[in-house]
Symmetry: C2
Subunit: 240 residues, 2 copies
């Protein structure tokens, strides 16, 4: 049971983890940790009964999720009216090669968050969101950028979704075979998958003397795990 | 324009890439290359008007996509009747740090595939699918595994979806600022993201003398790009 002092998202038939329910949690801490260590999500929405699943960058502020796009995009036009949405984040951590086909699996961490997507129309909230969108990834970066102009501001739509329900689902078990199968002469392994930062490629048209900031270098050095870097960037921009 | 000799998926308002349409393609070769270099997808479906977005492993056979799960899962129960589905695959390749907030972006490769999900009820097709599910990732592996039993066969549901429409969308441009912004003393870069194979962790309960196969070692050595490994595994199991 979750500690009753830990805030949790409400659970109902929409977000209850049904399969392998022991892998499911609903507390804010578990859900937010998975969200804040990611940059990309998949947003599902429905147009005329047809589901769409669009990958996009997103970020969290409290219990609200934000994403953005062109004001002309199909996804965003459809989400103006408070349409129901499911936003999913997944980290694939490994493949599991078991001794039977049945127990082949994967280690992963995922969150499904449910709510109603609304266009942010408040000018101040939208301005702040356009800052956070960049700074959530690259702390303090916006202050050094060329300022946004009114045409860009108008051309960009920001969507916000209060998380009404959410679940986190984690598998981290490694190989788990039927007990009698361990005696078989079959090779089995956990095969980790790593998502890491590559070597930064500075724009070839940089002005002389313009260099990568120490902050960027500290958070995004070559070879670091991306989920760790994103978590640190998040906590720098949104200190607890 | 696409070569007219290259088979393509039909284009209509559902799968036409509207935003940044120059990034969109529909030919089988482009769509399949992105699908076959991935193992995980996000499947969107609708229950009572509520969209769901579930991450799962999948694979392609011709113009058909397969995924599987427990016969008891909510996702699969809902997809028995030929429900409309959108299956999306995304590779995040880099973050783009531009000189303005507006031009911050990401390099990526993604596919959205649309169709109707149906449970595979034909016993032969289902048996073959349960083999391919493992062998698509790890060629020839099923032949060496403990055989599936009837209880496992019954407990597993395989879903198939003929790709009715699909689009591939790719951004690979690196930094692309407004021309006048290149003169500004602002740092900009392409920050690559790598998804790679980690060091295999053999099951601690292996029988003495049981070792990783040469085939597994060749396709999944430590440090290799995952998309390359998955593509090679795919082509080994499904030679052109």
């Amino acid at each position: 049971m979750a500690d009753t002092h830990t805030p949790s998202y409400p659970v109902d038939q929409v977000n209850k983890v049904k399969r392998m329910h022991e892998r499911g949690t609903y507390d804010h801490e578990s859900v937010h940790a998975i969200l804040d260590s990611a940059s990309m999500c998949h947003v599902s929405y429905v147009i005329d009964g047809q589901p769409f699943c669009t990958p996009t960058l997103f970020w969290r502020e409290g219990t609200k999720l934000y994403w953005h796009g062109s004001s002309a995009s199909r996804m965003l036009r459809n989400q103006k009216e408070g349409e129901p949405v499911c936003l999913t984040v997944t980290h694939l951590d490994s493949f599991i090669l078991a001794r039977s086909g049945m127990h082949h699996s994967a280690d992963y961490r995922s969150v499904m968050a449910f709510g109603h997507a609304k266009v942010i129309t408040d000018t101040d909230e939208k301005h702040q969101a356009l800052v956070s969108m960049v700074d959530r990834l690259f702390p303090n970066r916006t202050a050094g950028l060329r300022e946004i102009n009114s045409q860009e501001f108008k051309a960009t739509t920001v969507i916000g979704m209060e998380i009404e329900k959410a679940s986190a689902k984690v598998r981290a078990g490694g190989v788990a075979d039927d007990e009698e199968d361990y005696a078989l002469p079959i090779y089995a392994e956990r095969l980790p998958v790593h998502v890491t930062i590559g070597k930064a490629e500075p724009c070839p048209r940089l002005i002389d003397g313009v260099e990568r900031s120490e902050e960027l270098q500290n958070i995004y050095p070559e070879g670091r795990r991306l989920d760790e870097a994103l978590t640190e960037a998040y906590k720098t921009t949104y200190p607890a």
